[in-house]
Symmetry: C2
Subunit: 457 residues, 2 copies
C-alpha cells in the first residue's frame, strides 16, 4: 500500500470521527510514514488532529521528520503546555533544525516555552557556524567516566537508553570531562562485567573525533573512511560536547553531493527541495552564472568578428564552429568532473598533479586522433551527399583543430580543479564555468590559427 492510499484512509477516519481506531492504526505505523501522511493531508486542521492522536512516545519523533511548513502549522495550533512537552521530548539537534527553518515569531514563542537549560543549549547551537560539526551535533549521547566498570556502564545505558540518540558507541571522559576514549556497545557486552572501561576502550591513536568548528564535510569523510556509526565532537579544550550520528552523516553526504551537482550545473547551491522553492529564488540561483557566461562570451564573439572576412570568403568554415566548441567543452568537462569527484572523495590529491596531467595528455591524444579521423570521414561523406562546396583543406583545418582543441581542453580540465584546490577555492564552483569559457575561446583561436596558416582566400 503506498503512502497516498494511507493518507486517504486516515482522512476518511477523521471525517467519520473514528479516533480510537485511527489511534490504533497510528501506533502500527512507522514514524517516517506518519510524518509523510501528515504532510500529505490537505487541511491544516487535520494535520494538527492527527498529530494530537499520536502517543506521547512518538509525537516528538514524528514532529522531527515533518517539513518546516507542517511543523509551523502544528506549533501555531497547539497549546503552550503541549509545546512545552514537545520541546522536552525532542532531541536538541532536531529542535535546532526546526527552529532554523520557521518564522521568527514561532521561534520566539517556542523559546519562551522551553525550560531555561534547553533554551541556553538551543541558543548555543544556533550560534555555531552553518555547516559546522557543532551545528549538526546532538548532545544526547552515552558517556561515562573511564573509571566505570563494564557492569556499571551497562546499567547506566539500560537506565538512560531511551533518551539517547544512539547507544551503540559510548564515549569515555576523564575527571575534567575531556574525551579520552570510545567503546562500542558490542565490545561492552562481550567484556567481563568487572573489567574497567579504561582497559577496554579505544584511546590514543585509535580515538577519532572532530572539533565543533570543523566543517561537516570532514565529519562525513571521517565516518566514511573508518565506518563509524557516530563521531564525537569536542570543544577547544577537548571536552566532549556532542556526537553526530550516522543518519545525520548520510544526510550531510547527500547534501554535499547535491551541492556539487548544483555547482557543476552552474547553479547557486540551494538548501530547499526543488518543488518547495519559489520561482524568484530559482531565477536568482540561475541567473548569475548565465549572465557571467553570457558576458564572457564577448571574447568568443570578438574572436569571430575579427575573423569575419575569412569566414565569409571560405565556404564551410563557419559551419564547424559549434561542433569544435562543443567537442572541446565536453572533453574538458569529462576530465574536470573526474578530478573534482576524486578530490572530494580524497582519491586524488594535489600531489598527483603531474601523474594526472601526463595521463590526460595521452588520453587526449587518443581521443583527439579518433575524433579527427571520424570527423574527416563524416565531412567527406556529407560533402558527397549534399554536394556542398567545402574544399578538402577546410577538412584538414577542422580535424587538426579538433585534435589540438581536445588536448588543450583535457589539460585545462585537469589543471583548473587542482589549481582551485591549491588556492583553497572550491573546485566544483571554479571549474565548470571557467573551463567552458577558456576552452571555447582557445578552440576558436586554434581553429582560426590553422585556417590562417593553411587556407588562402
Amino acid at each position: 500500500m503506498d503512502n497516498k492510499a494511507i493518507t486517504e484512509i486516515i482522512e476518511k477516519m477523521l471525517a467519520n470521527n473514528k479516533f480510537s481506531a485511527l489511534k490504533e492504526l497510528l501506533t502500527e505505523m512507522n514514524v517516517v510514514d506518519i510524518a509523510q501522511a501528515i504532510e500529505e493531508t490537505e487541511l491544516p486542521e487535520n494535520q494538527v488532529r492527527i498529530f494530537r492522536l499520536l502517543s506521547k512516545d512518538y509525537s516528538a519523533q514524528v514532529f522531527s521528520y515533518l517539513d518546516s511548513d507542517s511543523q509551523g502549522a502544528i506549533v501555531e495550533a497547539i497549546t503552550n503546555t503541549e509545546l512545552k512537552f514537545l520541546m522536552e521530548d525532542m532531541f536538541v539537534d532536531d529542535a535546532v533544525d526546526f527552529l532554523e527553518e520557521v518564522p521568527a515569531n514561532i521561534v520566539t514563542r517556542v523559546l519562551a516555552h522551553t525550560n531555561p537549560e534547553t533554551r541556553n543549549l538551543i541558543n548555543r547551537f544556533l550560534n555555531y557556524p552553518e555547516n559546522s560539526a557543532g551545528s549538526i551535533m546532538t548532545i544526547e549521547m552515552v558517556s561515562f567516566p573511564e573509571t566505570y566498570t563494564v557492569d556499571m556502564a551497562i546499567a547506566e545505558i539500560r537506565r538512560t537508553a531511551l533518551d539517547k540518540e544512539t547507544i551503540y558507541t559510548c564515549y569515555c571522559t576523564d575527571s575534567q570531562r575531556k574525551l579520552v576514549g570510545s567503546v562500542p556497545l558490542r565490545r561492552l557486552i562481550v567484556s567481563p562485567g568487572e573489567s574497567e572501561i579504561r582497559d577496554i576502550m579505544y584511546d590514543d591513536d585509535q580515538l577519532l573525533f572532530v572539533n565543533t568548528l570543523d566543517d561537516q564535510e570532514s565529519v562525513a569523510a571521517l565516518a566514511r573512511k573508518y565506518d563509524l556509526l557516530s563521531v564525537p565532537v569536542v570543544d577547544n579544550e577537548q571536552r566532549l560536547v556532542g556526537i553526530i550520528t550516522i543518519d545525520d552523516i548520510v544526510d550531510v553526504i547527500e547534501d554535499e553531493n547535491t551541492e556539487d551537482f548544483e555547482k557543476m550545473a552552474l547553479l547557486l547551491p540551494s538548501e530547499d527541495q526543488y518543488l518547495k522553492t519559489g520561482v524568484l529564488t530559482l531565477t536568482k540561483n540561475r541567473i548569475i552564472w548565465l549572465l557571467v557566461l553570457m558576458v564572457s562570451a564577448t571574447f568568443t564573439g570578438q574572436i569571430i568578428e575579427g575573423f569575419e572576412d575569412k569566414l565569409s570568403a571560405i565556404a564551410g568554415l563557419t559551419a564547424s564552429i559549434p561542433m569544435l566548441m562543443d567537442t572541446g567543452g565536453n572533453s574538458g568537462n569529462q576530465v574536470s568532473t573526474l578530478i573534482i569527484r576524486g578530490l572530494a572523495l580524497g582519491d586524488i590529491t594535489i600531489k598527483d598533479y603531474f601523474k594526472v596531467l601526463w595521463k590526460e595528455i595521452r588520453v587526449a591524444f587518443l581521443c583527439g586522433i579518433t575524433l579527427a579521423a571520424v570527423n574527416f570521414v563524416r565531412m567527406y561523406i556529407l560533402r558527397m551527399i549534399t554536394g556542398s562546396q567545402t574544399e578538402t583543406p577546410v577538412f584538414i583545418v577542422v580535424c587538426l583543430s579538433m585534435l589540438c582543441a581536445v588536448i588543450v581542453a583535457k589539460m585545462i580540465g585537469a589543471s583548473l580543479p587542482m589549481l582551485a584546490k591549491l588556492l583553497k577555492l572550491d573546485p566544483a564552483l571554479m571549474a565548470g564555468p571557467m573551463i567552458t569559457t577558456i576552452v571555447d575561446a582557445l578552440s576558436l583561436l586554434i581553429y582560426f590559427g590553422f585556417a590562417s596558416l593553411i587556407l588562402t582566400v
Copy 2:
C-alpha cells in the same frame, strides 16, 4: 601525524628488524590506517611482512580494507594454511568483494582452500546480479526465533557478537525461517528479561526489508528514508538470507552519486578510482559520447550552412552564435540537473510534471528577459567601444532569440529527464547528451528564423 609519516616509520622498523616493537605499534593503530600503510609501502614483500605481524583478530579486517592489488600480492605470498584461516575470519561480503576484483588464478586457489560450506556461499553470492541487494549483503547477522525471551536473546548476542557484522539490529524469524520482525538492541536491553521477543519486535507494516534481487539503489533509499542501521534481505519465500549494513549503504550512496556525476559529464560509468584506471580504459569511457555528439553536430553544421549567405552578408550575425548556443545549453542543463537529482532522491515524481513545467516556464521567462536586456546593453556598449558595423536590428534579433532559446531550453531540460523516467530509462544517462544536441539545433533555428523575419540583406 599523517599516514605517509607512519608508513615511513613502519618501513624503518622493518629494515631494522624491530618486529616486536612494530607488532606493538600495529595493535595501537586503527585497521583502516594499517590497510592504508600497507598500500603505501613500496616493496611488495614488506606488504606481506606487515600483514603477517598483525594479530589474528585484526588481519581479516585489515585485509578487507586493502585495495585489490595489495590483496592479490598478499594472497600470492601467504601459505595455504594462512589463506584458509584468513578466509574463515573474513565476512562473506568482504570475501566476495575481494574475489570479484582479483585475477581468476587467485580465485581458484582461494576457493580451493576454503571450507565447502563457505565456498558454496561465496559461489551463491558471486551469482547474484551486479548491484543487487544479494551481491552486497552479508550473512553474519543476529537472528533468533520470535519465541525467544529477551534474556535468551541477549545471551545469544553476547555469545556470538564477535562474529557478526552488526548486532545493533536483530532479526526475528518464525519456524520456517521467514522474517517476521526486527528489534533494535536498544529496545532489547531496556525491556524486561522475561518478555517474549514477539511482543516487543517491530512487525507487519513497520517491518522493512528488501529482496535479494532488488537494486542496491532501492536499499540505499530505504535506509536513508527510515534512518536504518541495517536492512534485512529476504529471498522469494521471504526467508531471511542476509543483511546490508549502513557502512556498505554509505558506499552504495557514494558509488551511485559518482555514477550520476560521470553520466552527466558524458562518461561511461567506471568502478575504479581515476588514478588506478589505465589510459585505454579512460579513453574508451570517454570517446563514445564525444563521437556521438560530434556526429550529431552535423545538424547544427547543416543549419549554419543553409544560412551561410545571410551570415556573410550581415555583419555581427555569426559572432553571436556561440553565445546563444552556450546560454541555451547552460539554461537547459541547470534544469535537467535539478530534475535528475530530485528524481534520484525521490523529491520529484513524474506526477509533478506539469507543476515543474509551469514553474520552469516562469523561471525561463524571468531569466530570458534579464539576459536579453543585459545582452542588449552589452552589445550596445561593445559597438561604441570597438566601432563595429553591427546594426541595431541585429541586436534585436539576438535578444529575441535569447529569450526564446532560454524558454525552449528550460522546457526541454525539464521534460527530457521526466520522459526518460516514464520510459524506465536512466534520466542521468539520457538527459545530458540529448539536451545539448536538441537545444543547440533549436537555438540556431530560432536565431535564423528571427533573422529571416526581421533582417533584409
